[in-house]
Assembly symmetry: C2
Homo-oligomer: 438 residues x 2
């Protein structure tokens, strides 16, 4: 029983009551869902004023131990089991804040005009009637029309809005595509780093291979062949299309980062080169706008379009309707095009500056690989640590790192320029040097 | 060659040039991607002023036939093949606007405070740093904490935020769940109307059955057993849990519309009754907020939680980050709870009013089925039309209808009260009477 010591000041009494019940709840002696004694009864038993008890209960409620139900009283919540379940790794996660994130796939902090995007979202939300209903399973039709125009003009992908399927990212699109091509059994990816996409194929029973041209489905990312932005030459694109046509293979063209091809003309899309047959084209906006906006789309070739149409009504749209409406008008008003120009210029300059900072830190002869596109370069350094030792050590110093290869003597890192401001490239490289001990 | 008739007024000349090239493009004689003659060359050939040609080109560009590329000139777009692809059914769709939609699964037009939601979205977008990165695969952690509190308080679902997976609707969640339980082969649904969910199970190779307790997975919607709002009694809930436990079956509890249980106390969740074992709990907000907001969540039982954790990083989050952040604060500030109270009151009143309107129109003895929950009633009428004849005829008169059953003599309709204002119930029922001819 609660023992209230007399010398305690009156204003502390309610804290005693609070701690008493808190302990009972955390120890599981008062079970979740059980009713707390009424204020009157509790005040009587403890010989304290009702106000003191009420203050204690209010504090318990504020801290989530009990909850008030109208006309009924207070009940114990499930907080005890909840606290018990909290995993320890969760609690000491993220102790060191990340100073420089070379591993980020985010966008440059300064590049995105939040105020502008906010205006478009606001205007979308103002279309009350549209927001009150579910979205079109295939994606909003005006948005698909704008997308069809956009990729026709920029990527030579000629299609009808009816060939386009919108989804909240690549995975929901592949989850619609895979069941449509279930007669195919094997899929080839360029490298094992395409984990999120290969996971979906595995989930649907496909055997996953790498760089295997005999597979039924060939997944390629022509503007992003390697993490450091190598792109697929037109000659190889044509060979691939011819090969797929002869063997009745399906190509999935993930046109990721095609916008960031700097050092040569943007290469034509496989979909365009193949005349819209045997190729599924996939585009997304995460690198142009915000990664947190989940809107991607795929263009189906004629053969799959018919199959899809039969099943379309069974798949709900996953992308936010407000974001589709906003993006539709954003593209119409030319903002996506100008954002693309801006980012291409920015990342091209930043990549150059990052290269210089790396050479300045690790010497002019250090092993750097750069491509014609993207936002990253690859750096190979002598290092005896394993990849996970290195990333752990880096994380503890506030440095985000992605290890591409390691062999006990050397390690190859992918350094992305997108999330680090140019002025921080030198200190970030210095920190990298300390961490790798090179 | 273009033949410019002399008597044409000068200001019409550019239209002639426009129509000339438009025809060439539409007939495929100028192919997509081919370069238009330069203004200078075209003017020379046609013996017209450069301005006239320029006006024609600008009009062609405005109509999408050609496109300007900086420092290069004009190119033919793919518009010809695009127009060819436009399907005819698309063009004459939606001629009759829908006056009264009995088939809607939307929310009541007056019930949602767009201004309030807008404020929360705006505040979410203001968190620039958070918006610049990809979301947590499992869902934003503060949002999952709020969800855990919310369902603990309201549904007696006691879980840690780590047991919760957020997704853009039911389907993306099932697409994560199905691969986790691939050793199971059969799934049972209450009725064939759960098409969107059963489609996903079929996509992953499950055999779909109905009301079959011998299945490895038993999908139930306890607050929505029938379209007209029958709920599962507690006794049957306990039997089901016991049955699943003995046979090692997995229950999927889709807690759809549990908020709209009017005529009795909200029944406890299966997840709560089962103590968090053998049950996956699924909740969503589409009936409380806007159907266009794509945010749902599932709570995994311990056994699946471990399996999920191993694969979590391979699945990108599908729900919009802005909407998760907004909803998180919206719930914290108590708006979801008050919105739920408001809608429960509203729909309860509207269902009563709709019943009265139906009886007033079709007679006091007409066959109405109502349940203890939901937003719909079922009405059985004598009708010799087939279901699709009836819905087509209704659509042409501006009436949205959902047919539940038909047998050549009678038809059973599901009438939802959610999207039709109460004052329109009588005219809507009158129109329904005319359409069914009863």
């Amino acid at each position: 029983m609660l023992n209230i010591s007399a010398e305690h000041k009156k204003e502390h009494l309610y804290l005693e009551v609070y701690h008493y019940y808190r302990k009972l709840i955390l120890e599981g002696r008062l079970l979740p869902g059980s009713k707390m004694p009424s204020l009157r009864k509790c005040a009587q038993e403890l010989k304290l004023s009702r106000t003191t008890i009420e203050n204690a209960y209010l504090l318990l409620a504020a801290d989530g131990y009990i909850i008030a139900r109208a006309q009924s009283g207070y009940y114990v919540t499930g907080i005890a089991s909840k606290q018990h379940l909290l995993t320890p790794e969760k609690q000491d996660k993220d102790i060191t804040p990340c100073l420089y994130d070379f591993a980020s796939s985010g966008v440059d902090r300064e590049s995105f005009r939040f105020d502008l995007w906010q205006r478009y979202i606001k205007s979308a939300l103002r279309q009350g009637d549209r927001m009150l209903s579910y979205g079109e399973p295939q994606g909003e039709s005006d948005f698909r029309e704008v997308l069809a125009d956009y990729i026709r003009e920029r990527r030579n992908v000629i299609c009808s809005p009816d060939d386009i399927v919108v989804g909240a990212g690549l995975q929901p699109l592949l989850q619609i595509l895979c069941p449509l091509i279930h007669e195919r059994k094997t899929v080839s990816f360029p490298t094992p780093s395409f984990t999120t996409c290969s996971t979906i194929f595995q989930d649907y029973g496909f055997d996953v291979h790498y760089r295997d041209k005999s597979c039924d489905v060939i997944y390629v990312s022509p503007a992003h062949m390697t993490k450091w932005g190598e792109i697929m030459p037109v000659k190889r694109r044509l060979e691939l299309i011819r090969h797929a046509e002869i063997n009745d293979h399906l190509i999935i063209e993930d046109d990721f980062e095609n916008e960031f091809v700097y050092f040569q003309k943007p290469t034509p899309s496989l979909f365009g080169l193949a005349g819209g047959e045997n190729v599924v084209y996939i585009g997304s906006f995460s690198r142009l706008l915000l990664p947190s906006i989940r809107v991607s789309f795929m263009v189906l070739p004629r053969s799959l379009r018919e199959k899809y149409t039969k099943k379309a009504a069974f798949y709900n749209q996953t992308a936010s309707k407000a974001e589709q409406i906003a993006l539709c008008q954003f593209i119409r008003d030319g903002h996506l095009a100008s954002q693309t120009r801006k980012l291409r210029r920015l990342y091209s300059q930043k990549l150059k500056a990052l290269s210089q900072a790396v050479r300045g830190t690790f010497g002019q002869d250090c092993q750097i690989q750069t491509g014609a596109a993207g936002t990253s370069l690859a750096l190979t350094l002598p290092c005896s640590l394993t990849g996970s030792e290195l990333t752990d050590r880096a994380r503890n110093r506030g440095l985000g790192l992605e290890v591409l290869r390691e062999n006990g003597a050397e390690v190859t890192l992918v350094l992305s320029c997108s999330s680090i401001p140019s002025k921080d490239f030198l200190p970030a490289c210095q920190l990298l040097k300390e961490v790798t001990g090179s």
